[in-house]
Amino acid sequence: MSSPLTGTTGSKVRGVVGRAFLWLWLVIGLIPILFMLLTSIKPAGIANSIPPVWLFTPTVRNYASVLSGGSGHSEGFGQLLFNSAVVSLGATVLAIVLAVPAAYALSMRAFRARKRVSGWILSTYMFPPIVAVIPIFVFVGQLGLMDTYAALIVPYAAFNLPIVIWILRSSILQLPFEIQEAAMVDGASSWNVLRRIILPLLVPAIATAAVLTIVLSWNEFLFALSLTRSDAKTAPVGLQEFTGMYGTDWGNITAAATMIVAPILVLMVVLRRQMVAGLSFGAVK
């Protein structure tokens, strides 16, 4: 075996050191996640005992208690998860509906402003949410939309638009132009080209962009913290209130945390390549 990657003894040693570092990192990196999962299934009373208890009979009572609104919570955590789901899916649908035609326009070869408009849309990615949240807080208040789903759906869609448009646009640019050209020669309008030819071919890219938007909206904290009180409160914000003045039930917190993280974790692991490609604006294929 003398490939350029595993050549000399020196590089073999380096390879071993590198792999050791990699696996050490991976194992240590799992500890917080392991802590969350283990604590969430510990029986009441030993969740935060010191020294930590490693052998115990697993229980789902923490999950049941959190979902039923036990231990000092007025609303069940299920309602907060539902709010998170509505907001994430709403933002995703809105972002995709806005982005598909926009990405198509930005892929048109005859559209001379496309470079400038693409650049502007991309540059809005750097716009810091903290700078937007104060004006949006004022606007939402004046529109009477405080603590509604809409107050989160529209900003989430907007802040994910650059990434979504960028993903869709690069995949339209990768389609063979001849397909569009042939349809146009046959007299198809641009709308029909988009609807009948591009859209079916764009489904995988739309799926990637949609999952990315769901994940980023589900995880969002700043806007949810600022623009909701109770009716539209999302799960990550609700989780923070578990540390109340009556002490902290670690079993409940970690059960709630696990329920927030689990769906995202599954989506991300299954669609790892697509996620990284999307988050790097398609720079990595």
């Binding site: 350029p4 904290f221 945390a257």
Partner: protein, 327 residues
Amino acid sequence: METTATPSRSVRKVGGVGSARRQHSGAGPVSGRRRRDGARVVPWIYLAPAMIVLLALTVAPAVFIFYSAFRNDNILGGVGRFVGFDNFVQAVTDSSNQHSFLVTIGFVVVVVILEMVLGFALALPLAAQTPANRVGAALMLLPFAVTPAVAAMIFKQLLNPNYGWVGYYLGELGIAKGADLLGNPTTAWMMLVILDVWQWTPFITLILMAGLQAQPIEPREAALVDGATPWQMFRHITLPAMAPFIAIAAVLRTIQAFKTFDPFKILTGGGPGESTEIINLGIFRVGLQSFNIGLACAMGVLFLIVLSLFVPVMLRLIGRRADPEEM
């Protein structure tokens, strides 16, 4: 793609109204004045909905903060008045604001450098396509997949001085028994950096891993035949070939790091004292907790100006890669 691009490229070079005929003959199907005007208007119609939303959620807020930065409006206290540059003077001279700006930049520099170096070090062994590495890449992603607000909450529990695993096991090892690692500015900063590195290094690693896997093997084989040392091969072949991936990862990560809010809000809340109050927390406190909108907007304007310095770099790196023909 290259061949089909030729007609439109010639159109763009000619430009102006006179090019309509060229465009016509070049692009093929366009016929008559109606379609020609259509070709100019249609893209804007497709773009309009997305642009309206983006204008409403980024440009309108930007206009609002530029306007409000010169006034002393208070959400609770009714309508304020024009106060000139007072807010900017306060934003720049106030020592806690200066501290916020400085620690923000310090935090970004430290985590981006750490994550780039660690990310590269992890990507090198992970790039070899072995069965074990397929598992490794999935495990690598896990911290990155944890909701940031949840991750901060979990770290807060792990670091709890009375019940946390970290304090207990460090104590067992004879180090820092029962220490309140979040109660001291230096260790609080270390914990924030560790949390960020834990969560975001995987992002860098996976980008660089994809970059390494895309490298052709021939140049390295040739160099090996010519007797190059591993370091020479890394320095003169791998590193230059990886430059675009490194640049993109660094720019994206820098922009994201400047937006960091959740871990600071949840893990330290800016404390102890104001030692870890980065600009995002400062603006949040001044604007949405003290409702001093004018000052918060002035800080926002300054922050926006700093961040906009990165726009040209980002456009060049990402724009060129996504659409080499155009940018």
